[in-house]
Point group: C2
Chain length 259, copies 2
DNA sequence: AACCGGCGGTTCAATTAATGAACCAACGCG
DNA sequence: CGCGTTGGTTCATTAATTGAACCGCCGGTT
């Protein structure tokens, strides 16, 4: 891994749960020598990508990323369109909808919407950082990613989050095969207990996934008819989101209903 | 300059006017060898910071920056608060207000608001990339930046944008001295003809400017009373914006009215 | 008060990565 | 068809990065 990629990989350590991280923790979490981490962070800081705060001089993402995002959004309004599509998807299905983008070896939630259709709903507070092998979004992305990326992801330890989590990479591959047939990955309780999710990849201009669009609902509300409805809505949603942001659906992306 | 900073400096080439740039142009604009630029861009691309599009494989900012900005905004809502403050400032002054952040050797507009108070207004379409020496925002930032940064900035060629633009670095320094006395940089027609702007720096947690807050109005509406009103509003605005985003005003930042 | 363990930060010999001139195939233009 | 430009590649040379060991400071414990 080149020096630039190494430095940028440090940015993947920041999350909603951990927006500020000290130097020693950055070194520990990334597996780098503290001197190396220090130097890389200093260079990121010199460009405004990270900054240091507080008496303990912890690092956090800096203002420079806002301007990059604003420039990006000006030409490819992914966040703006995603908010609209996610809102509409939540309204149509009556459940929680969200969109996430690839962040190193995980997915990071970019935007989500709750529905007022029911008194209970799947919440996103503990789901801003999603594991590939254990979420509908993750499986949807892997199903349409390059084999190299899939191999790299499944070569890492696959932790269990619930009693249902599949931690055997062969079983995960079988789930990917199923997702490839229908274009939607279904996931029952792998990441959060009693949550059934449907997710489809969102594609970039190179025809590769850049993230996923998903609907998450409690088991109790999931009938076959509901599942079919959500499946179709997610497919339509990702087609719209991909199209409106200049992405390209792969030629072999399925159009049909679930079998 | 380290490799990481070098790679990130390439991101400064992208602008509202030029959201996509080919490899040879990146090399030409940055002064780097094409092979070097290619390698650095490939590493940025591997982390989703840039992506390639179109038949000519031009580069543009990638989706990875959106998620970084979302994480940053979740803990330090600079963009969200800036939008509010800029909106309020425009309403209060009846003129165009905007906020920009430092981007290498220039300032990049982050958000702006127009007022409906008059039939004519200063527009922002041609002012998303601001020169330090020739804009109120730029002078405001320089006035409260470290001497090293000021020296580095003024050592570069200072192009003229209008007949009023000051291109002599000693004269620019005199303008910085004036801004230090009042906390606000005034700028008459240096960047756009017949536009009078007032700007104040917005400070980060380290007490250094991370950008500027400004009001731009046509000459024709600028009376002494109006100027004093705008001056006070900009000072109040930057105090609020700095405070609400966890920034720290330097101890010597002026509080008084213009002399 | 003394000691300990951890923090952020620094140094420099050894190691590794980056560099860029020269090259390639492809493409559009006259 | 020839030319000039593009995106992309190669590898001997050059430069940057690395990380073990170190530093001062700080908070907690005895």
């Amino acid at each position: 891994m080149g020096t630039v990629a190494k430095a940028l990989s440090l940015l993947n350590l920041f999350s909603m749960e951990q927006p500020e991280i000290g130097l020693s923790d950055v070194a520990r979490l990334s597996g780098m020598n503290k001197a190396t981490a220090y130097r890389l962070l200093s260079e990121l800081q010199s460009q405004g990508i990270v900054e240091q705060v507080g008496p303990d001089r912890a690092y956090r993402l800096g203002p420079g990323v806002l301007r990059l995002a604003a420039l990006r959004e000006a030409s490819v309004p992914l966040l703006t369109v995603a908010r609209e599509v996610v809102r509409a998807l939540s309204d149509e299905t009556g459940e929680t909808a969200h969109m996430s983008v690839i962040r190193g070896t995980r997915l990071s939630a970019l935007t989500y919407a709750y529905s007022q259709a029911h008194a209970t709903r799947v919440t996103m507070e503990n789901a801003t950082d999603l594991a590939f092998h254990a979420t509908g979004s993750g499986l949807a992305v892997l199903a349409f990613s390059d084999p190299g990326f899939v191999n790299e992801t499944l070569a890492q330890p696959l932790p269990a989050y619930t009693e249902e989590t599949v931690t055997d990479s062969a079983a995960v591959r079988a789930a990917l095969d199923a997702a490839r047939l229908t274009g939607v990955a279904e996931c029952r309780g792998l990441f959060e207990a009693e949550v059934h999710s449907h997710a489809a990849p969102v594609f970039g201009p190179d025809g590769k996934p850049l993230g996923a669009l998903a609907v998450a609902a409690p088991y109790a509300r999931m009938t076959n008819a509901t599942a079919a409805h959500i499946h179709a809505a997610v497919i339509a949603g990702t087609r719209e989101l991909t199209h409106r942001t200049g992405g390209a659906l792969p030629a072999d992306y399925p159009t049909g209903a679930p079998t």
